[in-house]
């Protein structure tokens, strides 16, 4: 029997928690696009929560953030009966063929997530993913797929398509810097929790997304 590496185990747990928390926050079913958008935010904003990210790099891609390895773990959840896949389709455009589908956690998946949460390390990971998805899902539905595109790190105009964005150094993680900058609006210093910063940051992203949409008309 093949044993999963620690990295694979963490990835699968993240995938399961993302599906589980999305369901709890009403993002149901969860489209493939949103799964990867949320994964991106979890990686990028993990620094706010002092959680180790899965990936500190992402390719700037015409279709937005995408993690092939996470997709495999999502597929494995489906194969293991912990999630279902629906509305499978293969749209084609000038950039090539793509796969779109909707995912949903199953009852066994929810039970597995519940069991996993009881393990110490996974408890805090689930908590942080839940906080991120809470802030994400609180934004207007019509902007949800675009927030990551306007994210300070991913949307950095100085990074063109095809470039690998590396936010392993704190100075390069513009999203965390932006989220931290809300501190200046707090009445007392150091009173904003990571959850508060994430919430304010997502609100800010919604604002600039909505401005950009309005500009395009």
């Amino acid at each position: 029997m093949v044993r999963l590496s620690n990295d694979d185990l963490r990835r699968r747990a993240w995938a399961l928690f993302i599906l589980d928390n999305s369901m709890r926050m009403g993002l149901i079913p969860l489209s493939k696009i949103r799964f990867h958008r949320i994964t991106y935010f979890c990686n990028c904003l993990s620094g706010l929560f002092q959680v180790l990210p899965l990936d500190t790099t992402v390719v700037k891609y015409v279709r937005g953030p995408y993690y092939p390895e996470m997709q495999w773990h999502l597929d494995r959840l489906v194969g293991a009966g912990l999630a279902t896949i629906k509305d499978l389709r293969y749209p084609m455009d000038p950039h090539g063929t793509w796969m779109d589908a909707n995912y949903q956690i199953t009852k066994s998946g929810a039970l597995a997530a519940e069991a996993l949460r009881k393990v110490d390390d996974f408890y805090s990971i689930n908590k942080f993913i839940s906080d991120i998805i809470y802030s994400y899902s609180a934004q207007e539905e019509k902007f949800l797929d675009s927030l990551a595109i306007f994210d300070s790190t991913y949307g950095n105009a100085q990074k063109e398509e095809g470039i690998v964005i590396d936010f392993s150094e704190a100075i390069e993680n513009l999203s965390v810097r932006e989220a931290d900058s809300f501190e200046k609006f707090a009445q007392n210093p150091n009173t904003l929790s990571p959850q508060d910063r994430t919430f304010l940051y997502m609100g800010y992203l919604q604002q600039i997304t909505s401005d950009a949409v309005r500009k395009v008309g």
């Binding site: 790099t57 092939p68 597929d75 494995r76 489906v78 293969y90 063929t97 990074k159 063109e160 095809g162």
Partner: protein
């Protein structure tokens, strides 16, 4: 924002007198553009007024095209070259100028040594004007006027006028801009493909006053690095002298010998540790580049998997019409990605079987051929050809990823081995130091020579540490300035990128983009601790096999013609960005006609005219003019036509040609075939149709 507006030099008039290569008008080769108007003939030498747009210097080999371009260049930069310059790495030189490397360039070309020859130019910077006349024999300034005022004709006055009117940080930077950005001569200096050259240009153009200080800081850091290295060399020599002496002492029995031997071993451990640290630094850069390749290759593979999977999904849907989405997805994904989502295996024993059944249109359950099937999949419905093509592309993408991953793992394992060796060495060093310390207590008096060497070594060590500190301080200072420069370059990035896209799409059919990046460059030669983070631009481009833009790290990653055109588009983008609203600009180039096919000759000509007319600004001329001077051989008549826009009826070409057949001293080829060459020239400028 830039501190001062930068104005590029634009040559509006050039006159060459008493130079035997350009004796004056030869009536046999005068181009008769306007039969009714007699154009005054040039009795002595060459004189040309450059109007906005493209001007072509047309001639044949050996008539003086390159000489004329060099006269124009030297009128601008005088008899000076950048110190320690490497044309293949233009940013590598020192920030100072030295005497011209080929002082007899003009005099050696004529029998009279060009004693009376002189050249003049009218050089415009926005609304300001410099008129300069230089002796061609030694390039000495004979007369100098700035905005119609006579100025003492010497090089220092010229330099200070240039610095004032161009708005560039200093004359060395002006020289750099002219030589490497404005002039694109036959040595084909790359700017976008050399990290240091690219940075130097961006620094000069976008960083304002900060830029002037930085090169000096960098030179200072290099100088201090040199001093440190020299001291390190002396120090190392003393170390080996001392080791030699200790080895001699080591053959004697007793504590002293043991300590000497220990010290030798310690020196060896430290040297090895330093060597390994340097290799680890180099490997981490390679690992980063390799990691980027893997990430982009994975995405590329993903698109190919999905393409193949879509076709397989059609087959699966036909084979199992009532199966639910999970089954269909798991099956088609297994065939395409080779991974089983049910059990997680990436090595299914029946995969090849299923694949061949799909390809042959056989039943996926019982393997019956289409002829025995009642009602299922046939090759008509799911084209085997399409599947095979997609499978081929998928295999290629998979192989590319495997290669990248293989390289990555090799590097990682090398780094791991080195790190573990380094750790062991550090541990050994600690033990050796401890043992030395313990044994040192029993040390009898060392012999005199060793003591003297130890004393010298101690002094050398102190000096070495001081110089290392000074070097670090110089590097830190340079890095702090670099950070400011980076911020300033970032402000201009989006404009450079947008202009680059406008220009490059005319030259290169693939999608080609510019991104900002940070490059860690080793400074000086010591290699350890001397690196700075430079901002720069990175090219990404699609290709026949990559639909997603891939990072192109060097000129070897694109074709020969793409290399030059991307570089030219980058030059134009820099010039267009800086010259927005500050007046005209100029590019002088020896046309790269050899690497162009007919289609590209026309679009290259169109783009060069577009640049010269400034119609790249929303398709409208903004009222200011650029000058583009291009030399071209008559054997590339199409290039001359394309550059002049002869086939565009609205273009007036009569003032846009410097006809070297007429103005230059005829060589043997021209004397042998005067009619043929003249006809060729007339054809090129539109005075004779193609069949004449």
């Amino acid at each position: 924002m830039r501190d001062r507006e930068i104005c590029f030099p634009v040559i509006r008039r050039v006159i060459v007198k008493n130079y035997a290569i350009f004796p004056g008008s030869n009536p046999d080769f005068v181009l008769d553009f306007h039969k009714s108007e007699e154009k005054p003939r040039q009795e002595n030498g060459l004189s040309h007024d450059f109007i906005n747009g493209v001007t072509v210097i047309a001639g044949i080999n050996g008539l003086g095209k390159t000489t004329l371009l060099n006269i124009i260049l030297r009128l601008l930069i005088g008899p000076l070259d950048r110190s320690k310059e490497d044309p293949n790495d233009i940013g590598s030189g020192v920030h100072e100028l030295r005497t011209w490397r080929t002082p007899r360039f003009f005099s050696s070309r004529v029998p009279d040594g060009a004693v009376d020859a002189e050249a003049s130019a009218e050089i415009w910077f926005g609304r300001d004007r410099i008129e300069v006349t230089r002796a061609l024999a030694n390039l000495q300034i004979r007369s100098l006027r700035v905005n119609d005022q006579n100025i003492t004709p010497d090089e220092s006055q010229y330099k200070s006028a240039i610095e004032r009117l161009s708005g560039l940080p200093d004359f060395v930077d002006f020289h750099f801009i002219v030589r490497n950005l404005i002039f694109c001569l036959e040595d084909r200096r790359n700017i976008i493909w050399t990290a240091s050259g690219q940075f130097d240009l961006a620094r000069i153009l976008f960083a304002g006053k900060v830029a002037a200080g930085f090169r000096k800081q960098l030179d200072d850091a290099n100088k201090k690095d040199g001093e440190y290295r020299r001291q390190l060399h002396s120090y190392n020599r003393l170390v080996s002298d001392l080791e030699r002496e200790r080895k001699r002492a080591a053959v004697r029995p007793g504590t002293e010998a043991a300590i000497a031997a220990l010290k030798v071993a310690l020196g060896e451990t430290e040297r090895r540790t330093m060597h390994i640290s340097e290799r680890i630094d180099a490997i981490s850069n390679e690992i980063r580049a390799c990691r980027d390749d893997i990430l982009t290759s994975r995405l590329h593979l993903e698109t190919k998997v999905r393409e193949h999977e879509r076709l397989e999904a059609e087959y699966v849907a036909l084979a199992f019409p009532s199966a639910d989405t999970t089954i269909k997805y798991v099956l088609s994904h297994l065939i395409s990605s080779h991974k089983c989502a049910v059990c997680g295996s990436a090595d299914s024993p029946i995969l090849e079987d299923i694949k061949s059944r799909v390809e042959a249109g056989h039943c996926p359950v019982c393997d019956s051929p289409p002829s025995s099937q009642e009602n299922i999949v046939s090759g008509e419905k799911v084209s085997a050809e399409r599947v095979n093509r997609a499978a081929k592309e998928l295999d290629a993408a998979r192989r590319a990823l495997e290669i990248a991953e293989h390289d990555y793992h090799q590097l990682i394992s090398e780094e791991k081995e080195l790190s573990s060796e380094k750790k062991k060495l550090q541990e050994r060093r600690r033990e050796q130091l401890h043992e030395l310390h313990v044994r040192g207590a029993d040390l009898p008096q060392a012999d005199e020579q060793i003591r003297q060497l130890e004393a010298s070594l101690e002094l050398a060590s102190i000096k070495k540490d001081q110089l290392e500190d000074a070097r670090s301080a110089a590097f830190q200072k340079a890095q702090a300035t670099l950070n400011v420069i980076r911020e300033k370059i970032e402000l201009s990035h989006s404009k450079v990128r947008d202009y680059f896209e406008i220009f490059v799409r005319e030259f290169v059919a693939e999608k080609c983009l510019l991104s900002m990046e940070t490059r860690r460059e080793i400074i000086g030669q010591s290699g350890s601790g001397g690196s700075l983070q430079f901002p720069g631009f990175q090219v990404t481009m699609t290709s026949g096999v990559f639909e997603m833009p891939q990072i192109r790290r060097g000129p070897e990653t694109v074709s020969e013609s793409q290399k030059e055109f991307i570089d030219l588009a980058y030059r134009m983008a820099l010039i267009a960005t800086v010259s927005e609203g500050t007046g005209g600009a100029m590019i002088v180039l020896e046309t790269p006609e050899a690497s162009l096919d007919t289609f590209f000759i026309n679009s290259a000509g169109q783009l060069l005219r577009k640049f010269a007319d400034r119609t790249y600004i929303d398709g409208e001329n903004d009222g200011m003019g650029n000058v583009l001077i291009a030399s071209s051989n008559l054997n590339a008549a199409n290039m001359i036509r394309a550059l002049l826009g002869v086939d565009d009826e609205t273009t007036e070409v009569s003032d846009r040609v410097i006809n070297l057949l007429e103005l230059a001293a005829p060589n043997a080829m021209l004397k042998a075939h005067p009619k043929e060459y003249f006809a060729e020239l007339k054809k090129a400028v539109g005075l004779l149709d193609g069949n004449a």
